[in-house]
Point group: C2
Chain length 109, copies 2
């Protein structure tokens, strides 16, 4: 709810992940850097994330279009972060790229 | 990660919500009933949810197709729950219906 979405269609990347509990400081620094760099990419709209008491994170990152998502995935610094994520930090993750077709909401008056 | 998704395309309903902090017992009972009833609908695949320390919930419910989502939205008991949600329980929510076009993952060996 922290940012304004445009009218659909737009895109959402849904990321469910759990950490490996090794080098968490390194992960935090990289995660922060990627969030900052990612937010400067063309087509970036915003993100929402919640982490449960078990440490599992559910993160949704929003973009105007699929091309922006594909371009960010190939960014050299992001590619290196993805490599390190698999090598060191993640126990598992699942990533889904989805086209938002409808959106609506409610806010108490 | 708790259930197997089919190959895309399939659908995700992304729900971000915060509660009003009134009648939380009533909300919990209704929420549990809707999760149970919703899981029995045709086209239901599974769900993933995380609630942050601020009480905000990020929930993604997966379906095979958009028609199943529309049918469940019109279920009479679910309609009543939606009405009560706006009347009593939610501070705000945002709901997005999205078509998953690509999915991939990683699991540590």
């Amino acid at each position: 709810m922290t940012f304004t979405r445009p009218e659909p269609p737009y895109y959402a990347v849904i990321i469910s992940s759990a950490l490996n509990d090794e080098d968490l400081d390194g992960y935090d620094a990289m995660s922060e850097r990627m969030a900052e760099l990612g937010a400067r990419q063309p087509g970036y709209l915003g993100r929402e994330s919640q982490t449960g008491p078990d440490g599992r994170e559910l993160l949704v990152i929003y973009y105007t279009d699929a091309e922006s998502i594909a371009a960010w995935k190939q960014d050299p610094e992001h590619l290196e972060a993805q490599r390190l994520g698999k090598e060191r930090w993640y126990a598992d993750y699942r990533i889904e790229v989805a086209r938002v077709e409808r959106a609506y909401g409610f806010e108490r008056a």
